[in-house]
Symmetry: D2
Subunit: 324 residues, 4 copies
């Protein structure tokens, strides 16, 4: 079975990772690529390793009402730039929006595929979670649904590689300024907070208004680690057991009993979660690791598209992480 | 005035940074260098840029009862290796212990030079704070002495460059395994916790038993950032004002109103602190940045030695950070 | 068709990359893993992302006369450690030696798969080229066989990522000492020189005694670039054309008209070659890029094994490079 | 003695490094800073560690005919942007042009301070060498003046950290695209070639038309290494001896008998040179290391200004390199 897919935002980091995954997918065939500045060039001009026919595909100027015949569209557009345009795409085309405009928006399913895969099956409009939220939510979900932590008292200290800032980063994301540097930013007002609050409340049934979120830029290209400080009286083993049960059938979430490192997930769709608790201090530390471009963007998007199309969830996503 | 100084542990990262600072110090003259594996070699064999006479100084085998005539000894030995040996050094020699064996030990002053400089003046035995604690304590001190946060409810998420692991790091600290990687470790049981707890209690007069400390290895050579989550109803401005008053006469602590980056301190003895508060959520975030080998080790040690010797606190420490 | 394969040296970087590729191979099934220090542990203890049955495979102590029933053995042992042992392996087992002991040794085929694939088909003992030589030889081959450069007057300035030093690197390869550092080494006496000289002479039919080789350690984990300065009167286009003809049927060698970057090959079995010539100065610059663990080690080894087993050369090697 | 100095181009990397060095200089006092985009802001807004009065200095809009009373101007402007403007500065102001517009231009002295310091003493217009040329020329000078290599047959393989691209680098110099990447560029047509050719011809008295120059971007912030392949029959010891005699009185050039690493010079005005020769192959390899922002830009500029002002050459430049 061949499913015809397109990518808009192909020259960005998320779009490029989607291209890499789709090129190795057993059922998806890339027939359409679109962009803005890159329109008119061929894929090989941006991805020098591409083989054969794919290399010669010409990037088209993005126009939501002039799409070729495709079954699935991966949209990797800057947040704020996709809402109007995607509304004009034919309902016959399934869309996964990797960008931020449709998270918890009416008419769109929030695609937290490892937590609620059944909700995504057969949908035609799915919003991919943000990179920070996906790591956070996967690690917290087993604790929240089992009542092991207080949903209103969670601190998320998040660390991300710099590709999270996107290709069009500008001088603030130059090598010289970021190498040998660690940069906190966006304290108390990050754009990802409402999304996380909504998910926590949905999973726990209680308010998450106390959520604290502090992101940091780490001098590496890929990878996200979230270190979360929660209140609860569970032991480390109780947390691990809850997660193992929760992710018993998961192809992508690994529950482990030591602190996970970001490189363990690099280039893959895997997520690692772990926990360290101290009941005497009413403390549960939860850790989540993903590749921000894999499970945090394009990997998650392909996983969602697999579910939407009735394919095996793992199709095209079985590549192991790159080490070292 | 020339003060004769020695360094033991010269071939480690802390000892090497002490050498760099002492070589540029207006009053200190390095006349003695000692080590273990490096004994018998010259300084130039380890530090290829050294000029003139200093280059030819031969490293001696460390023997605490066979020291030449020196006024100050900088001891940069692995934790656990210095207590017995330093007890045998003549009382005529002032000692700054950069290692971990004498922090809050009877007969030794805890050298938190930016917080209690007067206690250090004229002392002969000073224990340098650990690299994580110095960043933590400098940022928290103004909040604790002014009662702006609860001392029993502090979470410290700490991030360090890899030189903090020391030169003899072994395969776990290889470039290939650490580049593009972010590694949490030592959750709930780091060796630096008792030191921080003691300082917090001393500054606040209340128990700090609830302290949570989680360190992370960041793929950079130098730099520490601590992000601290505290409970309190102060505003951001109240926190900044308290810190500005507290460090009004400080030569090295910079209080700023935006999140500090580790590279701002690189190669210097500076510390940067900042705060972001949300009274509605009873939340105060405190940030502290140091160079782990500067203010976190050798810079702080020279600052302590200056105070012990009655010199200007800033002697030899006025070099600006390296940027970029 | 399932071909049973084993890896010895599984915990090293080359062995680990072989594991990653074999796990995604359509015909190879890993049934045996061996090591020294790692014997007795499971694969999951070293590769946290491994799925299912593979994760639980126990690493055995390497014993060449006690192998289970396997068809192919990938040997990734330190140079000097494999010759005696591999001589004792049953002739029924095909061997690809990723280590350095059998390059241009009687009874072994030198596995330069992109240049002479036909020589490798059906063999049972194949020596993988070294990482520097494979990049060098792939870029030079079209020039040498077409007589476009003087074989006796070639300068190879080679740059490698630090994983080339292997997992057991020691303090000399620590992050702190190598980050922000560029290190030339082994000038005029690198162990890879005889191998390159032999290949150049074989391809050109003339002496390569004038070969100059200078390697450099670059602060990155993966990747090799060789910049070669040759004498010849060809134009840039003549060089590119010769290479395009030479690699016309190649699945892995990309001939391009701009300088290739190491990251273009990262995680893949691709090689990139390019040329810039100035006939007025009798100068041809040849450039070659590979991933030292891909085409420079495990990727090349799988390619050789495919040829030895009569499989499609590309089986298990179609993954695109990781970008960024 | 206080000498009043100004910097134009203060917010660039070269200007910032000049600021750092001048702040620690015993005789220079910074009284004027100018820029384009940064005009109107204070120095502290760009350099958060600056102390006291310097921190509050307001950056002015660059206007060559409206300078305050200064003795020395350091000009760090983009190549192409400084020629007209600097021609309009009063002759009473000494100028060191760190940019590229006045190298080997009439009326300007080429400031290769370690090779011909006497030519610079007392001058009022000095052009700082480029970062690649300064490393190249310092390493080659002893060989050229002693006739140990053929001046017409030199290959320069140059590797630089990414700060060499300047602060306004744009997306091509982003962290994500450059980390874990090694990038050759500008083959056969780099802007620095004429400058090197002129110096080689001046030192040797013969044509350098055969010069080959190939630059590479290395994923590190600071540092330059040039590896040069020359023709000559000298031994390694003859080359080292020639260099030791040539730099006998040099404060900054270190001649060593092992390959130098870029980090040895980091943050300093040092240059390291070494040689490895093979008379049987008529080969001399010359190696040169500098910090591209130190000896390759601002350090060299301060050294030139010291000579122009009749100060000790080393004033303000005695800081040792940062290690690690």
């Amino acid at each position: 079975m061949s499913i015809r897919v397109g990518i808009v935002g192909i020259s960005g980091f998320g779009g490029g990772e989607a291209l890499r995954l789709i090129a190795g997918h057993p059922h998806f065939e890339l027939v359409y690529a679109a962009g803005e500045g890159s329109a008119g060039s061929r894929l090989i001009d941006h991805f020098p390793g591409l083989p054969g026919k794919l290399a010669e595909l010409v990037i088209e100027r993005w126009d939501p009402v002039a799409l070729p015949e495709i079954d699935v569209l991966f949209a990797s557009l800057p947040t704020g730039a996709s809402a109007d345009a995607l509304a004009r795409v034919s309902r016959d085309v399934k869309i996964v929006d990797i960008g931020g405009d449709h998270r918890y928006v009416d008419g769109w399913t929030y695609g937290l595929a490892d937590v609620w895969p059944d909700e995504i099956k057969g949908q035609t409009r799915v919003a991919n979670p943000g990179c920070f939220p996906v790591a956070t939510q996967i690690a917290l979900a087993p604790l929240l649904v089992n009542g092991l932590i207080e949903p209103g008292n969670i601190v998320v200290d998040a660390k991300t590689g710099i590709s999270g800032a996107g290709r069009g980063g500008g001088g603030g994301f130059s090598f010289a300024a970021n190498n040998e540097n660690l940069v906190p930013y966006g304290l108390l007002r990050h754009v990802h907070m409402p999304e996380m609050t909504t998910t926590i409340e949905r999973l726990s049934g209680a308010s998450a208004a106390g959520l604290v979120f502090a992101p940091h830029l780490v001098p590496m290209t890929r990878g996200i680690l979230v270190t979360m400080y929660c209140r609860g009286s569970a032991t480390t083993d109780q947390c691990l057991d809850a997660a193992r049960r929760f992710y018993n059938n998961s192809a992508f979430v690994r529950v482990i009993d030591k602190p996970p490192q970001t490189k363990w997930a690099s280039g893959s769709n895997l997520a690692f979660v772990s926990y360290a608790a101290d009941p005497e201090r009413n403390l549960v530390i939860a850790l989540g690791v993903v590749d921000n471009l894999g499970k945090g963007a394009a990997g998650q998007a392909v996983q969602n598209a697999n579910l939407m199309c009735g394919l095996a969830e793992t199709a095209g996503l079985e590549g192991l992480p790159i080490w070292p």
